[in-house]
Symmetry: none
Amino acid sequence: MSTARKPGRPIDLDLVERRRAAILDAAAKLFAEKGFAHADTQVLADVVQVSKGTVFRYFPTKRELFEASIERSLDRLRQTVDAAAEAVADPLEKLLAAMTGYLRFFDENPEVVELLILERAEFKDRKSSYFDHKEKCSETDDGWLLLLAGLIADGRFRNIPTERIKNVLGDLLYGTMFSNHMSGRTRALESQARDLFDIVFHGLLTDAERSRGGIARYLPQDAAGKSE
Amino acid sequence: MSTARKPGRPIDLDLVERRRAAILDAAAKLFAEKGFAHADTQVLADVVQVSKGTVFRYFPTKRELFEASIERSLDRLRQTVDAAAEAVADPLEKLLAAMTGYLRFFDENPEVVELLILERAEFKDRKSSYFDHKEKCSETDDGWLLLLAGLIADGRFRNIPTERIKNVLGDLLYGTMFSNHMSGRTRALESQARDLFDIVFHGLLTDAERSRGGIARYLPQDAAGKSE
Amino acid sequence: MSTARKPGRPIDLDLVERRRAAILDAAAKLFAEKGFAHADTQVLADVVQVSKGTVFRYFPTKRELFEASIERSLDRLRQTVDAAAEAVADPLEKLLAAMTGYLRFFDENPEVVELLILERAEFKDRKSSYFDHKEKCSETDDGWLLLLAGLIADGRFRNIPTERIKNVLGDLLYGTMFSNHMSGRTRALESQARDLFDIVFHGLLTDAERSRGGIARYLPQDAAGKSE
Amino acid sequence: MSTARKPGRPIDLDLVERRRAAILDAAAKLFAEKGFAHADTQVLADVVQVSKGTVFRYFPTKRELFEASIERSLDRLRQTVDAAAEAVADPLEKLLAAMTGYLRFFDENPEVVELLILERAEFKDRKSSYFDHKEKCSETDDGWLLLLAGLIADGRFRNIPTERIKNVLGDLLYGTMFSNHMSGRTRALESQARDLFDIVFHGLLTDAERSRGGIARYLPQDAAGKSE
DNA sequence: CATGAATGAGTATTCATTCAT
DNA sequence: TATGAATGAATACTCATTCAT
């Protein structure tokens, strides 16, 4: 186990990792294209140029293969979004960059959307990997909540509970992403993002309407939201 | 020989309609619970208390059965939303009521969300019934666009292209609905809706930040949103 | 039961017969086209413009319907052949006419060949209607044997057992008919018949070869045929 | 790494061939007995003592299994006939041997007749394998036509177009074979063959009748056969 | 008598998973 | 460790036949 090489055929530990990745990538594409049930492991094996037996050595069941490929995709999503956010310094700009990065990731990796759909379609028992992943990240890293809190403290965001902001933004992005994918929307991503951000950041109401009391007046119970 | 009555057993048209509905309702629940492939037509027949043959008399293929059950669900969604909107007169209130109605429908009929997911998972070739339905309704009835235009004309909504508003609100609701369903969120629907509306109608930014120029300053190109 | 008409709606006894015939004719075509299993009684009912129930009133099972339609076809075959034979007086000419009539019948009614094939394919237990029919006719009417005997007595045919002649001619026609149908042969029927008759009536051998002893010399055992 | 030997379980090519043959033979018998539709693949698998899955590994569809089993039978027919013909030297004797071999093959392998019938009954779209096979063999090998031409040149056969002779003999055998099978004829094959050959080689007519002009006088048009 | 809605038996095919080599 | 042959569970769909009206 040391760095000292043993005689004979070297054990290519790296091969294992490369092969695992190759299998997962091919699996993601195959699942996305064919659906879970119709994705034939034989086809997968052919694509990766290993035998079916080998695929099952790496992933003992088709389901585990599927879960692993979704996990890998979500890791890449997180990395992409984080990278986009880290490229800028200003908190608000960071938020915008992250949101755009999120939409762009799914735009460029449409098979990941399919995986999310398939997971729910096939494994209703299991909690969605997407939300599971999201939750886990939140537990270990409340960076976005801090960022939102900072924006509020700086007087740039209205005083809305940060958790709530996070939820609404998350839902908006999630829905936009799905919507884009499933409806076949083809608008340029950047332009679409700007329109969306304009509305959610500035709100739909005019200043006049807001000063008149905003939507609170129309909501069934007046225990509505009290902000700012 | 006088009347148009043909010989033989008369047809009970009402029974046909009732049975069709019973099959579709049972099918929706079964599909939602088991997924498309694992929903056994024999089980369905047993539930509805008819023979398998009868099920296939009504719907010649499992797929057609599925599509019909989704169609029926979407019709019910539309009716629910329309009814909610028509209960109030003020345009803004109408909009809020419709949005709440939408979320409530899926909250009360969670199997419909499953159907939407299943449809995409199984029939990637077919355009999503949801968006198809949406599109068809838009073609024949641009009521919501008119309502939005009215709100803008009245100075209550900022001057944003109505189509864009509709898209963003649609995506927000779509995402929230999915999100609620898949993440198992359990918040009271009314409370959640109010929080969501607060953000999207009033915006996230403070008045101070808005008067400073809003988010336009942070967006990659300044062709951003021009409001009010 | 007399010719005296009773009051009220007349019972159209003829209708029964006409309908029976219509069903059988349509059935023959349908069976021939689709095969036994794939011939749908519903389709048959639609064609004849009666209900499925009515079809089953006339023929209690699909199989009986099939047998009846084959029986009807074979009756028509017999009539056709008999008519052709009766049109001429000379015995040899009669024979030739009958054989030509046989081939022409199947040429003009190809669906009958299909029925013969289907019967064997589906009902291996039952004796072939064709041979059954042939046998029955032979029992009641040995006209062809008499005719052959006459030809021999007249010194026109070689002295071969008439039963044997009948068998060989029967097999030759049966095979030619099947062969024509299944291989899609398109030669004009008359020309083909003449070629065939030439060989079977005159034989393949030259006079020289015959006078040398014919084929008897080449046959395994010399108990061969002793003719003339 | 030196030899071409791949890792993993080696392939037993011989087993594959033996198993293929076993499946085809069992299939031929099963089809012949039950008919195409009623031949259950599970039963076949049980007979061959493999799993149903294995049967489908060898033949992806029931139909392909059927076609392969018919093909195998026709290959065996050809071999049998060729072997019978090659056992003798004299052309005429060769012809007689081949014809007898043909009849004997079907006598000893009655299931092959059933396969031919089933093929037509089930797959009306496909050209009959029998005639297809026959055609293919004729294309590559006109041995029989040459043999007939030789017999004519030698003054043993009348001068009839060889193609025509081949057709008539083919039809006669085909019909005799079917006839034997379907009518349940039980005569000793050799005896039957001799009777048949006697007629077709020597003809039905007496010398006297032939010298009087043969059948040409009785045929509708006198463009009949001109022989010898 | 006629109708046609309802029944339910019968079967090819796919593909994850195992395991002998 | 890699291979790929073998396994067998699981399921939509058709259509003859029945029978209530």
